[in-house]
């Protein structure tokens, strides 16, 4: 019955609806996602940010999204269609949309674009990212304490600075509490592919890793870890709390909501400007998910202390002395890394026994 009602009601309004939808004076905000919001990782958190806009600004805004947009000409077409249909603010939430964002932005100077994790800007293109490496340091600290085999597995996506920085940060923090620790890195060459991610997790477990970190977006590695006794991991991008208390013992959460609300508010106020944002634990863009009972109390305390110090600026995740993998000096005693070097990081630090694929 409900179905028939919907059909009848639909027929009645279908004809007259076309004009009405565009007539309202709401700010239209569009999102393009690399994966589905149901990935429970990267895209999920961006979608939470979108929902936060709706919650905070209510009927002043209308938000829309398209999921599973490939980083190809398709993304350019979707953004163009959004711009043409009245969207004034468009969030593109994956790195390789970059050139396509720039192309569309050139054609629509009145539309503002927000590109996550990119480095190309224009008068109407802002970039934003989070200092995920601060979160990596905290879970690296936990991992260093927790591993019994002294082998930490790392499911990496692409060998770009963002990912390499995370591996380095986690390694340094783990090594600081456990000098015996070794990292094994598997490159999945994808951000979201549950099958490949699960394979990578299994390969790492077979190689003796008992703590696994991931820089890919799905929960598939968690499902694999769950099948094995004594393997732990960390939620990536999202809390992945459904796998707590074990294998998920903590997580790095990307909290985009405050930034998204702030930028949308700026559009409403007419104060939007092109900016480059890189926020960390301090601003709340990076959060550490609840540490479960699986972690000993003293480790939980020391990890929390590290997180607090990273937030206050007392500690920097990259503090010298640090050498590069080839043994050459990078940071002197007490020196901290500058943002420029971090943003373009393409080398491992000393001690990591792997090679960056080339």
């Amino acid at each position: 019955m409900n179905l028939i009602k919907t059909l009848l009601a639909g027929a009645a309004v279908a004809t007259g609806l076309a004009g009405a939808a565009f007539a309202e004076e709401k700010l239209k905000v569009g999102f393009i996602y690399i994966g589905p919001p149901g990935d429970m990782g990267w895209t999920y958190e961006h979608d939470q940010g979108r929902k936060a806009i709706v919650e905070a600004l209510g009927d002043k805004v209308e938000t829309t999204y398209v999921e599973n947009v490939p980083e190809s000409a398709d993304s350019e077409r979707v953004m163009t269609q959004m711009a043409l249909s009245g969207h004034k603010l468009i969030f593109a939430t994956s790195f390789n949309y970059m050139d396509h964002v720039m192309n569309v932005a050139k054609k629509f100077p009145d539309v503002k674009f927000e590109h996550a994790t990119g480095f190309k800007r224009a008068d109407n293109v802002s970039t934003y990212s989070a200092r995920f490496y601060e979160g990596r340091a905290v879970i690296g600290h936990i991992a260093g304490h927790m591993t019994k085999t002294n082998t930490i597995g790392y499911i990496a996506s692409y060998p770009i600075p963002e990912v390499i920085r995370g591996i380095n940060s986690a390694y340094l923090a783990a090594k600081a509490v456990n000098p015996e620790v070794k990292f094994k890195v598997v490159w999945a060459y994808t951000w979201f592919d549950p099958g490949k991610e699960a394979d990578a997790a299994n390969a790492l477990i077979e190689q003796g890793a008992d703590v696994i970190m991931q820089h890919t977006d799905s929960t598939a590695p968690m499902s694999e870890m769950k099948k094995h006794e004594g393997i732990i991991g960390f939620g990536q991008a999202s809390d992945m709390g459904q796998f707590a208390p074990n294998p998920r013992v903590s997580s790095i959460i990307d909290n985009w909501a405050p930034y998204y609300v702030e930028r949308t508010q700026a559009m409403l106020d007419g104060t939007w400007e092109s900016t480059d944002t890189w926020h960390g634990i301090k601003e709340g863009m990076v959060e550490i998910g609840e540490m479960t009972e699986a972690i000993p109390a003293e480790v939980r305390a020391s990890a929390q202390e590290l997180a607090d110090k990273l937030a206050s600026g007392e500690v920097h995740a990259f503090t010298g002395p640090i050498n590069k993998q080839d043994g050459s000096a990078w940071l002197a005693e007490g020196e901290t890394a500058d943002d420029g070097t971090l943003a373009g990081m393409s080398f491992y630090v000393e001690g990591i026994e792997a090679e960056i694929p080339n």
Binding site: L7, G10, M82, D99, I160, Y189
Partner: protein, 362 residues
């Protein structure tokens, strides 16, 4: 017991009407699906089928984009249709599409930064050649060892995808790509860039080639001895031998033509709309082209229309996603219904359902 009985002479009108019936049935079933998901089905269908063509705000952009999106599908589907008529089943157009892009695009990357008017024609030839040679592998194995071309061509898709991955993580990786497994962007290389011919239309050289192929394909199929030969090979291998058709030649020609066209499609796509080689380059166009070939009744003009219809469901599907929050998966189901209904109606055109007792059926 229900059983299928072949109709002695399928109605010609019905054969032509099948795609239209399938589209209408898809609209109805899809509409029900959208309604169950809580969307207004009439608005959804209007957004998918009507807005990309006639909506004031977006249509001036989306109309030419339909051609851009449909071009690789149509190019490949026409090549495949020759083989499908002759019972030569090239399922691996996706692989030939990738190899065309890798060989043609790779040639361009090797020549960079040489600017010359000869670069573009050369990479077009290399692109076609890449697809052609990749399709020759199943052709030779079929001719020489009678290996099943369905399996061989399909398996070679995965080999091609791995080859592409090896290339973009190795020799073809962009020196300015921040470590991403992505080639240099072709729009930085004027001589190789498959640019828009008219600004803001998206129309590129490949669209013109596609239109030429539709016309040539039509002439071949209806006016040329080759068209006759492949049709007779498909209907009866024995009869075709009496007609002087060499089955080996048919296999080689069908796979070769479809491979070359798939290679061209890949080359035009990578140097134009996609803009770069990357592991994300293959999006399954080679498989979608199989749907397009059948939806278009294996006829060049039908394929042209079917390709445009398919592109319409993609572009309209995107509009429906962000205007009505219809999930991408529902749009894919909708596209899948199209083939399902086409094949379903096809069976009913060629066969009729009969009630029969079990005994009689034996």
């Amino acid at each position: 017991m229900l059983r299928l009985e072949a109709r002695p002479e399928p109605s010609r009108a019905m054969v032509l009407l099948t795609p239209i019936i399938a589209v209408v049935a898809t609209m109805i079933a899809g509409g029900i699906l959208f309604a169950i998901l809580g969307n207004n089905p009439f608005t959804a269908i209007r957004i998918i089928f009507w807005d990309p063509l006639f909506n004031d705000m977006v249509a001036s952009y989306t109309r030419p984009q339909l051609l851009v999106k449909a071009t690789p599908l149509i190019l490949m589907a026409i090549g495949l249709s020759f083989g499908f008529r002759a019972n030569v089943w090239n399922i691996g157009a996706e692989g030939q599409f990738i190899m065309g892009a890798v060989v043609g695009g790779g040639t361009a990357l090797a020549l960079y930064p040489l600017e010359s008017a000869l670069v573009f024609p050369l990479i077009i030839i290399m692109g076609g050649l890449g697809g052609f040679l990749w399709a020759m592998i199943p052709a030779i194995l079929k001719i020489r060892f009678n290996a099943n071309e369905i399996l061989v061509s399909l398996m070679l898709v995965y080999v091609a995808a791995q080859f592409l991955a090896a290339m973009v993580t190795g020799p073809m990786k962009s020196p300015v790509g921040m470590g991403f497994p992505v080639s240099r962007n072709f729009n930085e290389y004027q001589s190789a860039f498959n640019a828009e011919l008219l600004s803001n239309t998206g129309l590129h050289f490949g669209v013109l080639v596609m239109m030429g192929v539709v016309i040539v394909g039509y002439i071949f199929l209806t006016r040329h001895i080759f068209g006759f030969q492949i049709r007779v090979s498909g209907q009866s291998a024995r009869a075709s031998k009496f007609a002087g058709v060499n089955p080996h030649t048919t296999v080689a020609l069908c796979l070769g033509i479809s491979g070359a066209l798939a290679g061209l499609a890949g080359l035009f796509e990578v140097t134009g709309p996609a803009g770069k080689l990357s592991t994300n380059f293959p999006l399954g166009y080679g498989f979608t082209a199989i749907i397009v070939a059948f939806l278009g009744r294996l006829h060049p003009v039908g394929i042209l229309l079917a390709g445009l219809l398919m592109a319409l469901t993609y572009i309209g599907g995107e509009l429906a996603q962000f205007q009505m929050s219809i999930p991408a998966a529902a749009i894919q189901v909708f596209q899948g219904m199209l083939l399902f209904f086409l094949l379903g109606v096809d069976i009913l055109v060629n066969f009729r359902l009969r009630w029969a007792s079990t005994k009689e059926a034996r």
